[in-house]
Amino acid sequence: MTNQKQKININANYKTKYGFNVAENYVYKTEKGLNEEVVKKISEMKDEPKWMRDFRLRAYKIFKEKPMPTWGGDLSKIDFDNIFYYLKPTDNQKRDWEDVPIEMKETFEKLGIPQAERQHLAGVKAQFDSEVIYGSLLKELEDEGIIFLGTDEALKKYPEIFEEYFGKLVPPSDNKFSALNSAVWSGGSFVYIPKGAHVKRPLQAYFRINAQNMGQFERTLIIADEGSYASYVEGCSAPIYSADSLHSAVVEVFVKKGARFKYTTIQNWSNDVYNLVTKRAKVEEDGVMEWVDGNLGSRLTQKYPSCYLVGERAHGEVLSIAYGGKGQHQDAGGKIFHISPNTTSSIISKSVSAFGGRTSYRGLIYVSPSAKNAKSRVECDALILDAESRSDTFPTMKIDESSANIEHEATVSKIGEEKLFYLMSRGLTETEAMSLIVSGFIEPIVKELPLEYAVELNRLIELEMEGSVG
């Protein structure tokens, strides 16, 4: 047979599909770099209450004091002085798509938003650099008491909720990047689902970085009140610049008694974005939290969505899928803290590395002495497509209670010659066979995604021939 070297290249057409940018046309932009004045300026621009300003300044101090973490990927190239921390793209958030400034409208329309809204979604937020520039929510949901706002707007309308919840799950002192986010946060979503409300269609947010050397620091706060159900989907992308950008978000989700919340992310940042995100949920009695976390883009992602199972019978789930291509490192996974009796959890991670890319699974299962009969299952599977690529597994288990039932399974596989031959013998080319094996590998996670994202992900697994066809 001819010896063809064919590989799969996810995002082969990133440049045309997502990598464009529009002219920078800002209402306000802070100077490059970060200092106390910049923090104060952001707070002033937003006309915030004093406690939030103080919160930011306190967080900035912590950020300055904390050393750069070294346990994960290579963060040494991040130049905090070469980043814009706040860019205000427009005066205010629009409710009518027609009012959105033309270049932003074109950007989001090219990305398929809000077409998706009309078909599948309960509500939409679109963030352009630092601010949410468009938002909508179905009228009947608004009438039911569901709140879906940009975080800045929500802070003005519901200060008492913010004082109770904001920064309580992920305090600034949690890690260097949560401190940074707390100091300069802007935008993000605020979601409140009232007691017993069931929102069948997902709420969606789309985060777009447009400017060069931009830092995007959105802050999302979600409260699913007792017995409620809802889901939230977010997507992200950015133009390709040779200069690095930083995306560092904080997401806090409060799942009350008997509530269920599903948070899905498909991150497809361009390969010059550092994506360092802290996501955490607190789950009360009989509550269920599901994280579905897809990491396709970015230069380096460090993200481990976590669940604190504080109520009895609470359940937490993390489904993580990562693709590490050329020049990329996906350091992803999940953390579960079993605090109460009869809590259950699972972490399922699937990663694919190719073209010299790197994926790491990093996870933690903690069972406290108070968590009798906790049950957890961890499964991490890695698929490595060529000899230049790499995958590592860093699972940590801290089990302080003997009645715990913990299962852990890990597999690392390469695309076997036998499997390729088998599929080719049915008439598929090598590339088609490889693509089928990869999509089969990630299928268990893809089927958990909302339809339009599943379609998108499958489309992303596009094929590129490399080298000669003999």
């Binding site: 047979m1 001819t2 010896n3 063809q4 076997g416 010659e417 036998e418 499997k419 031959f421 088998y422 599929l423 080719m424 013998s425 049915r426 008439g427 598929l428 080319t429 090598e430 088609e432 089928l436 094996i437 999509s439 089969g440 590998f441 990630i442 299928e443 268990p444």
Partner: protein, 243 residues
């Protein structure tokens, strides 16, 4: 249709097949019999184009074309089929979707899911397979017998010109053997598919009647004959057929 001339095959530098001549015409059924290690499976895999099998000498023409110049995919699209002795399990790949993909490539048209599922269902009925099977993952967690049936199902879908069945009978109980035989015979009769049955045992030949029987030992065909050769083999065993 398939013409093999003086074919020599190496695996990792060692010669396993040492000069084979064989010609299978459209609609013919040939049985290739021999003990373990005689080179039968090597021949089958090499004919399909397995990359680790090296052809050191000889010629193979398929439908007038040089088969050895084609990659496995091209061989399949040209109408060659191999029923694997050990089919791979491919996780997450839905059988109906997979078979529709390969069917559309083979027949060069686009059959949409609903129409294809109807076709697939008909073929599955021939093999006494439950409809649920079409939404399982390809060979994943299948028993030995289920995997063999899946191979034959793929054969019925692809309608090859020549089908090589590599020990498809091993590990099948008598009922499964009958069903598999029915599928092979049907395709042979209706599509004039030429068949190369590779087997240790004569019991398959009670269900599929070969036109020719070849005995293979130590990389060579040591004797060829009609169906009666199988009976002789049954009585005397392979040791009677030295080189």
């Amino acid at each position: 249709m398939l013409k093999i001339e003086d074919l020599h095959i190496n695996i990792e530098g060692k010669e396993i097949v040492k000069g084979i001549n064989l010609e299978i015409a459209s609609g013919e059924i040939h049985a290739l019999m021999g003990p373990n290690g005689s080179g039968k499976s090597t021949l089958a895999q090499a004919l399909m184009g397995h990359p680790t099998y090296e052809i050191t000498k000889g010629k193979v023409t398929f439908n007038g074309k040089n088969l050895l110049k084609m990659n496995p995919s091209e061989r399949s699209l040209a109408g060659l089929f191999l029923s694997f002795q050990y089919p791979s399990e491919v996780l997450g790949v839905n059988i109906a979707n997979f078979l529709r993909l390969v069917y559309n490539k083979r027949v060069k048209k686009t059959l949409y899911p609903a129409a294809f599922r109807k076709l697939l269902k008909e073929k599955m009925e021939i093999l006494d397979m439950k409809e649920e099977f079409m939404d399982r993952y390809l060979n994943e967690g299948f028993s030995g017998g289920e995997k063999k049936r899946m191979e034959i199902l793929q054969m019925l879908i692809l309608k090859p010109k020549i089908a090589i069945l590599d020990e498809t009978d091993s590990g099948l109980d008598i009922d499964a053997l009958k069903i598999v035989s029915k599928g092979v015979t049907l395709l042979n009769k209706t599509a004039k598919t030429g068949v190369l049955l590779i087997t240790h045992y004569t019991r398959l030949l009670n269900h599929i009647k070969p036109d020719k029987v070849h005995v293979m030992r130590n990389g060579k065909i040591v004797k060829s004959g009609g169906h009666e050769l199988a009976n002789e083999l049954e009585k005397k065993g392979y040791t009677a057929f030295e080189e």
